[in-house]
C-alpha cells in the first residue's frame, strides 16, 4: 500500500510541478526500469531499492558536479516493465523522448533487454538509423552477448564465460577426485539455457571433466561449440515445471561426480528437492549465477546445502557489506544483479563529472552523447568487490568474482580469488 500512496504522491507532485512551480534546484535525471510485478518482481524491487540508496548516498555527499562547476542533485525515476518486451520498449521510448533522462539503467529480464536494446541506434552517427539515442547501462539482464546489439547500450553484468572458466579450473585443482559431470537446464529461459549450453558445460569439458555418458559430439571446450548437443544430452525442465521425477532419475542414473543445475530459483529448488527425495547424492552441485540469491535460501535452504555458484557480489568488502545492509534495511536483498545498480549509479556519477553535463536537461542530446562516449572510454571501473575491467568492443564488463556456497541457510564465500 505504501507504494501505492507514494505513487499517488509522486504524481500529484509531478502535476504541481508542471503546473508552474519553478524548480529552485538543479537536478540531473537518471531513469530505471525492471520487473516489479508478476513472478519475477523481486528483481525490479531489489534493483530499485539499491538504485535509490546509491542516489541518496550521492546526494548526501553533495550531489553531482556539473560542467559549470556548480553542484546538482541526482534524481531518479523507476518504472515497472512487467518483464514484458512491449513495455520495456515503451519505457525506453518514454524516457528517451519525453523526459530529461541523461542515462537509463535497466531492464531486469533478458528477454526485455534483447527487445529494447533493438530499438536503440545500432551504430552512433549513423544518420540512416532512426533508433533511440540515449545511453542505457544495464545491471541485471545477464544473457550472453546482449550489449553489442547497440553502441548505446552497456552492461555491468557478470561475465559468465570467465567466471565458469575459473570455477571449473579451481574445482579441477582443489578436488582432483571429481571426474565426471552431468546436468540440466531450464530451457525456456534464454539466460539459464544459453549459459548452460554455451558457457558452463564447455567450461567443464575444457578443464578435463568428462560428461558422464561419454563425450558429447562437437563439444570441444570452446565457448558455444556443440551447444545444441549439450542441451540434447542433458535432462531439462521448464521454468514453471513442478514435477522433476524423470529428470532427477536421469541425474541419479548418470552417477556423475558433479551435477550442474542451470536454473532460476523456483525450479532450482524443485529439482534439488527431488534429487534429495531420490537420494541422488553427487559430490558437488554447481548452480547458475542468478540462483545465488535470497530466493533459493527461502525456498530450499536444506537441499541447496553445498551448492557452489560463482557470483560477482558477496559482502566481502566494507563497501559491499554496507550495500547489503542498506538493501536489507529496506526490505530488499543485494545480490549479483541488484548490487550492480549501486556500481552503475556511482560509475554514472563519475562519468557525468568527467565529461561535464548541464542540469535539468539543457543540452540534453549533447550530454547523452558525451556520457555515452565517456562510458565507452572507460577501461576500468570501481566495483563493490574490486576493480571491474570493461570490454568496450562489446559494451560488457569483466567483473571480479568469488565462489559462494550454500551453508546453513546462507550464501557463504568459499573461495575468494581476488
Amino acid at each position: 500500500m505504501n507504494k501505492f500512496i507514494k505513487g499517488l504522491a509522486v504524481s500529484a507532485l509531478a502535476f504541481s510541478m508542471s503546473a508552474g512551480v519553478a524548480l529552485a534546484e538543479k537536478t540531473v535525471l537518471i531513469s530505471g526500469w525492471g520487473a516489479q510485478s508478476g513472478p519475477l518482481k523481486s528483481f525490479g524491487i531489489n534493483s530499485e531499492t539499491i538504485l535509490k540508496a546509491a542516489v541518496d548516498k550521492i546526494n548526501a555527499d553533495g550531489g553531482v558536479k556539473l560542467k559549470d562547476g556548480s553542484m546538482a542533485k541526482m534524481v531518479y525515476e523507476y518504472y515497472d516493465s512487467r518483464c514484458n518486451a512491449e513495455e520495456g520498449i515503451a519505457l525506453a521510448r518514454k524516457t528517451a523522448t519525453t523526459t530529461n533522462t541523461l542515462i537509463a539503467i535497466g531492464p531486469t529480464c533478458s528477454g526485455v533487454a534483447a527487445a529494447s536494446f533493438g530499438v536503440f541506434q545500432k551504430k552512433v552517427d549513423d544518420a540512416g538509423d532512426t533508433g533511440l539515442q540515449m545511453p542505457l547501462f544495464t545491471n541485471t539482464a545477464v544473457r550472453n552477448g546482449l550489449a553489442k546489439i547497440s553502441q548505446w547500450t552497456f552492461r555491468n553484468t557478470p561475465n559468465e564465460p570467465d567466471m565458469y572458466d575459473k570455477l571449473f579450473a579451481w574445482i579441477a585443482k582443489t578436488r582432483p577426485e571429481l571426474k565426471t559431470v552431468y546436468g540440466g537446464t531450464e530451457t525456456d529461459q534464454g539466460h539459464s539455457a544459453g549459459t548452460y549450453r554455451i558457457v558452463i558445460i564447455p567450461a567443464a569439458v575444457r578443464h578435463g571433466f568428462e560428461w558422464s555418458e561419454g563425450p558429447i559430439e562437437g563439444v570441444t571446450g570452446k565457448i558455444g561449440e556443440g551447444a545444441d548437443n549439450v542441451q540434447k544430452a542433458s535432462s531439462n525442465w521448464l521454468m514453471a515445471d513442478t514435477s522433476f521425477s524423470v529428470q532427477a532419475r536421469a541425474f541419479k542414473k548418470s552417477k556423475a561426480d558433479i551435477f550442474v543445475i542451470s536454473s532460476h530459483p523456483f525450479t532450482t529448488c524443485g529439482i534439488l528437492k527431488e534429487l534429495a527425495r531420490q537420494k541422488a547424492s553427487p559430490k558437488l552441485i554447481v548452480g547458475l549465477t542468478s540462483s545465488s540469491s535470497a530466493e533459493v535460501m527461502k525456498g530450499c535452504p536444506k537441499q541447496a546445502e553445498g551448492m557452489i555458484i560463482p557470483t560477482s557480489f558477496a559482502p566481502v568488502t566494507p563497501e559491499a557489506k554496507a550495500v547489503a545492509d542498506v538493501a536489507a534495511a529496506n526490505g530488499a536483498s543485494a545480490d549479483l544483479h541488484s548490487a550492480a545498480a549501486w556500481e552503475n549509479v556511482m560509475i554514472i556519477k563519475d562519468v557525468m563529472e568527467t565529461v561535464g553535463v548541464s542540469a535539468n536537461g539543457e543540452n540534453l542530446q549533447a550530454d547523452r552523447r558525451a556520457i555515452r562516449d565517456g562510458l565507452e572510454a572507460l577501461k576500468t571501473t570501481a566495483g563493490l568487490i574490486g576493480t571491474v575491467t570493461r570490454n568496450q568492443e562489446e559494451g560488457e564488463a569483466l567483473k571480479p568474482y568469488v565462489f559462494v556456497h550454500a551453508k546453513g541457510g546462507n550464501w557463504e564465500v568459499l573461495h575468494d580469488p581476488r
Binding site: L8, Y79, A90, T98, V119, I149
Partner: protein, 294 residues
C-alpha cells in the same frame, strides 16, 4: 514524442489482435487461437525480412496469408466443438504454435553475425524499420492505415448481408441453419479472416518491437486478445478499439505509477465491467441499458 508514437503503435497492433477475435465473436466463437495466428504472422514475416531481405509489404502479406491458411485449417475441426470446448481447443492450438516457435531455430550468417530465430533465445534484430530509415511516425502511420482498413471493412461488413449472416450464426446456429445459411462456410470464413487480421498484426508487431520470443505468445496474450472485444462489446468495431485504448493506453501506460497494482486493478476491472456491463464498454454510449437477464 517518440514515446507517444510508440504507444500508438502498441494500441494499433493490439487493436488488430482484438479485431481478429471480434470477427469470430460475431459468429459466437470464442477463440484463443488468435495469438497462435499472431505468432505465425510475426515469425514468418520476420524470417522474410531478416533472412531473405524481403521488402516489408510482401513480407507482411505473406505472414497474414500464412496465418489465414492455418486458420482455415483450424476452422474445420473447430466446427465440431462449440462454446467453452472451443476455448480449450483453441488454447491447445495456440500453445502448440508457441511451443513450435520455442523449438524453432533458423539462423543464417549475415554481415558477419548470425541473425534469425534461435529457439528459446528468441528472434532478435528484426530491424527493418530502423535500418531502412523509417522513423516512428511512419511506422505508426503504416500500422494505423492497416487498422483503419480492417476497421472500415468490418464496419462495412456489418452494413451488408454478410454481417447479418455472421451475427445470425452467432445468435442462434440452428435458426441460422434452418434459414439456409451454410454454417461450415460462415464459420470457416470467419476463422480465416480472423487469422488474416491476426497474422497481419503479428507481422507489424514483430517489426515494430524488433524482437519476438515464445514468451510473447502465451495464454496471457490470448486472453488479452479476446478480452478486448468482450470488454468492448460486440455491438460494433469501436468497442474493441475503445477497450484497447482503455487497457493499453490508460491502464498500462497512464497508470504506470501504480506499479504492480496495475495488474491487480486490471483483474478487478474485468470483474467489475462484466458485472455491471455484461455487454461490454460500448453499452455506456447507449441510451437505454438493456436489463440484465435472469
Amino acid at each position: 514524442m517518440d514515446y507517444y508514437l510508440g504507444v500508438f503503435q502498441t494500441i494499433g497492433v493490439h487493436t488488430l489482435l482484438g479485431l481478429s477475435a471480434y470477427i469470430l465473436l460475431l459468429t459466437g466463437q470464442v477463440s484463443m487461437a488468435q495469438i497462435g495466428f499472431f505468432a505465425i504472422g510475426a515469425y514468418s514475416s520476420g524470417v522474410l525480412t531478416v533472412i531473405f531481405s524481403w521488402n516489408i509489404y510482401p513480407a507482411l502479406a505473406f505472414g497474414a496469408l500464412l496465418a489465414s491458411f492455418f486458420a482455415f485449417l483450424v476452422g474445420f475441426p473447430a466446427l465440431r466443438v462449440k462454446g467453452l470446448m472451443l476455448v480449450i481447443a483453441t488454447i491447445a492450438f495456440s500453445e502448440i504454435v508457441r511451443l513450435i516457435t520455442f523449438n524453432f531455430v533458423w539462423m543464417v550468417e549475415k554481415d558477419g553475425i548470425m541473425v534469425g530465430a534461435e529457439g528459446a533465445q528468441g528472434f532478435r534484430e528484426i530491424r527493418y524499420f530502423t535500418t531502412n530509415g523509417w522513423d516512428s511516425s511512419q511506422v505508426v502511420l503504416l500500422i494505423w492505415i492497416f487498422v483503419a482498413i480492417v476497421m472500415a471493412m468490418l464496419w462495412w461488413l456489418d452494413r451488408v448481408k454478410a454481417g447479418a449472416v455472421l451475427r445470425a450464426v452467432g445468435n442462434d446456429e440452428l435458426a441460422a441453419q434452418s434459414s439456409g445459411i451454410n454454417l461450415t462456410t460462415v464459420k470457416v470464413a470467419a476463422m480465416t479472416a480472423g487469422g488474416f487480421i491476426a497474422g497481419l498484426g503479428g507481422g507489424l508487431y514483430a517489426h515494430a518491437v524488433s524482437y519476438v520470443d515464445h514468451i510473447t505468445f502465451t495464454i496471457l496474450m490470448a486472453t488479452f486478445a479476446i478480452s478486448y472485444p468482450i470488454l468492448g462489446g460486440t455491438k460494433n468495431v469501436f468497442g474493441t478499439l475503445l477497450a484497447v485504448i482503455f487497457i493499453q493506453g490508460i491502464l498500462i501506460e497512464a497508470f504506470r505509477f501504480l506499479e504492480d497494482w496495475r495488474l491487480i486493478i486490471f483483474g478487478l476491472l474485468i470483474i467489475l465491467v462484466m458485472n455491471f456491463m455484461p455487454d461490454g464498454l460500448v453499452s455506456i454510449f447507449k441510451k437505454s441499458n438493456p436489463g440484465k437477464g435472469n
